[in-house]
Symmetry: C2
Subunit: 395 residues, 2 copies
Amino acid sequence: MTRIRGGLGAVSGVRLAGVHAGIKPRKRDLALVTFERPQVCASVVTTNEIKAAPLLVSADHLKRSGSTQRALVCNSGCANAATGERGTRDARATARQTAALLGLTTHEVVVASTGVIGVYLPMDRMQKGLERAVEQLDSGGKSAHDAAEAIMTTDRVPKLAAYAFYRGKKRYVVGGIAKGSGMIAPSMATMLAFIATDLPLSQRAIQRALRAAVEESFNMISVDGDMSTNDAVYAFAPAGHASAPAEFSEALRSVCLDLAYAMVADGEGATKTLTMHVSGARSTAQARTIARAIINSNLVKTALYGEDPNWGRVVSAAGAARAGLDPRAWSLLLNEKLWVERGGIEVLSEAEAHRELEETNVSMELRLGIGSAQATGWCCDISRDYVRINASYRT
Amino acid sequence: MTRIRGGLGAVSGVRLAGVHAGIKPRKRDLALVTFERPQVCASVVTTNEIKAAPLLVSADHLKRSGSTQRALVCNSGCANAATGERGTRDARATARQTAALLGLTTHEVVVASTGVIGVYLPMDRMQKGLERAVEQLDSGGKSAHDAAEAIMTTDRVPKLAAYAFYRGKKRYVVGGIAKGSGMIAPSMATMLAFIATDLPLSQRAIQRALRAAVEESFNMISVDGDMSTNDAVYAFAPAGHASAPAEFSEALRSVCLDLAYAMVADGEGATKTLTMHVSGARSTAQARTIARAIINSNLVKTALYGEDPNWGRVVSAAGAARAGLDPRAWSLLLNEKLWVERGGIEVLSEAEAHRELEETNVSMELRLGIGSAQATGWCCDISRDYVRINASYRT
């Protein structure tokens, strides 16, 4: 398996574009992804009870088309969420317009949106933007970069990832683009990822592989319960094999991990990242629950920003998860150095710990000492800029 | 029922003091509360799996003494949490020293701590501080103010509340002091409240009344799952009535609500408060779950700071709670004016909503439109100062 350039544009049969439709001032705000062959499509979407219109419309399309998708269209600048029946009509019209321009049926198009909640899509601009996008459709890294840019909101950089792998002598690719930089807190900011492969798979096989990859990646930078109204991951493949080979699952997992880490590193106002390993757990579920509690703690994240060696916040967040911690058994490592052992004995001095925390990418390992399961979560710090950015998102 | 001055010092039979023991530089850091008569004691403590030593020692004392408490001692500047067996010995020694100075048995003393986790109590300073506190014991508002000051950490103001009520012609008082200003987020910052009444009650009666009052007050400014290692509310009463009269429960509830609101208003870096009503719910539990999800959202709180009329964040947080919201039935009010109705129709203009958000104390009501139960939660905004304060708490 090799990490390659080009993201979603590195997958053969994929053509895409990212254009300025005028939903936002000046910037690219409309992405179009098309597939040469009909695709099966897997999805993992938000569990929020308020789901954006494009999610509901796409779910309906996936059901009706019997999973033969041919295109995906996504705008930024407007979430089309909490927009009632008009929102649903607008999302469907977007798919219909896209289908008309590409010579497809409406149900073959997946739609997605990200941006402000409670605002209607400017449908006239969407139509013109779609026409422009169809004209600019292309394969390769440049157009994938444009598309990744067109789905950004507060993101500072476009997010692309791709891996090549072999089945016998034949080379395949898994590639994706994503957006999301508001994941540094239990937050409502939208996370979107669009992934494709040229390895033929059944819908069932890709759905199962996607679910597993998401659990370890996107779900470990945010908590399910805090998903936004618009969160969605869609993965496409040509119809084929009934089960996903290990090489594919590994490549898919790597694409998801890279995109998830890119979101954390590009977190709103972020200056540092924390990779939080939880080991010695009784079960993976326990390790994940505790890792999530730590990466979601505002106090852990502000201490990270301040390079403050306040390990008490880490273990207090772990204990607050009530996942079955033994308060005497745990040890904590900082950048692979033993920091605190057996429930509270400081091994690293405050000055030594502070020096370790000066690194841009900090890692910690909380060893629970009660089993052998493990999990990893990622977060960035909460800086003053986080507050500045979020205090005036809408106005 | 009348709101009166003096907090815990307004309760007859209570003598207290707040002194500088030297755990922190310069400031008062040791509070002592004594009771003329033996007291029954009710408690609600953190559910964090990592519990501070004083909580474990106090629980043991409450059990052994058969609930006849005579004193409470609390230090700030050191949480005595994650301090292992030495921490437990220190907490017990604090109680023993206090008991010796007051002529009590060790089990009659409740101990509490707040401050940095993972640091040992300076026992020599504690001893000298206790001697000074015993000398300064007094009734009334001044000493209650000193004691409230001595338990502060990042609090800007001491927190006191008291209410007088009548049973026939006899006047009784419920009064308390509290600390906690780190509750503006799902956070680990310690919340402590010490409450007493001169109305004789059984331990069972005051425990039940305290539990109910805490559910509506302190638990509605923070999430249980995020309680710190040291959170505790203790309520004292002379032994007596097997059941709490309604007048008492109401006064206790008012004391708890006042102290809880004081914590929010004094939140770290706070510039505004939000009173979040959730009405039209199927059950109180549902209304509370949704209210808590909203007041714990970083995005709601940063929008509040920025006076940004981003109602989407409020309803997205509500939906993320997955408590059974109907996405078409809800309406949202801002300062009692209809803001958004029936799942997404904006009634107030953005400019009007912005003007309402300029108020220092903002209120919102989310009407779920599916039942008749309700709940209220409180939070403050997250400002840039929140980050500044928490980035360097320990260093």
